[in-house]
Amino acid sequence: IAEQFSTTLQAVDHEFGIFFQRLFNGGEARLRTSVDPEEAGIDIVARPPGKRIGSLTQLSGGERALTAVALLLAILRVRPAPFCVLDEVDAALDERNVGRFTEALRELTDRTQFIVITHNRGTIEAADTMYGVSMDEGGVSKVISMKLSEARRAAGA
């Protein structure tokens, strides 16, 4: 990794590689300075396990989502935010990857509260608390706090 990278970026690169391998159960990923000398920048290199290196555009929808999650979590590890709102970032993930995603979130909960908007049963399973949002016929939203067990029964989980 180029010396142009600040200490922060080097730390993020390191964590990115680790989170990627955990979320993909193998493979490798890193940041590197952009090839373009004019535009100082960062490229992402990601290789899921068993596959050859390609560009990001060749990754599948779920692989792109998971790679972005790995990078986000790396940044949150290096520069924790007190909380993070994730709005349906799990939409493209299959069941097994949702499990890896929520386990990775769990690793950061000592420093960060996660508020996860989701339709996914696996994500709901992994949550500590749950809120249900509904809208009445008058176009007004309201919130119901659901005990986790009854929420899981409602989600058919």
Binding site: L9, D128, T129, G139
Partner: protein
């Protein structure tokens, strides 16, 4: 700063006063399409001094106030108050409990409040910056943003991560 509660009234589809309590760990927000889940997330983003209405799916701030429906009339004000536990002193202010509030009126007038007292936008941003909450591109992640992180022109991406530095 640990999120304790959010109280929302008049913000977009939350016409009635709504309070939600946050716990440590992972909180899931579920519900049907169009029920208000993303609006809930936007209300928190807004109270943390989001200044660009387009990040809140609005063309102008006025659209953030409950605009009525087929059977309800619109309101004149939107307000969100975030109650935060500051015992870790992540917010550079000498209180262990902090209430961060924001209001907006139809005429465009808007207020920022810390523990009930009005402050300038600049003071609010300074306060939040201390806890890595001001203008932090990684606090609110939507479906578009997952791709956005990967698709950023490399020069943006460097700025984005350096911003975290």
């Amino acid at each position: 700063a640990v999120l304790r509660t959010a109280t929302i009234v008049g913000f977009k589809s939350f016409m009635n006063k709504t309070t939600i309590e946050f716990a440590p760990g992972i909180t899931a927000i579920i519900g049907p399409n169009g029920s208000g889940k993303s609006v809930l997330g936007e209300s928190i983003r807004w109270v943390l001094a989001e200044t660009n209405p387009r990040h809140l799916r609005a063309k102008k701030s006025e659209e953030l106030i409950f605009g009525g429906s087929e059977t309800r009339r619109s309101l004149g004000m939107a307000e969100v108050v975030l109650h935060v536990d500051n015992s870790s002193q992540r917010l550079p202010i000498d209180f262990t409990e902090v209430e961060i509030g924001r209001r907006i009126y139809r005429d465009g007038a808007s207020e920022y409040l810390v523990n009930g007292a009005r402050v300038r936008l600049r003071d609010m941003e300074e306060l939040l910056a201390g806890a890595n909450l001001a203008d932090n591109p990684f606090t609110f992640i939507g479906q578009g943003l997952v791709d956005q992180v990967l698709a950023l022109r490399p020069s943006d991406r460097r700025l984005v991560i350096e911003e975290a530095a």
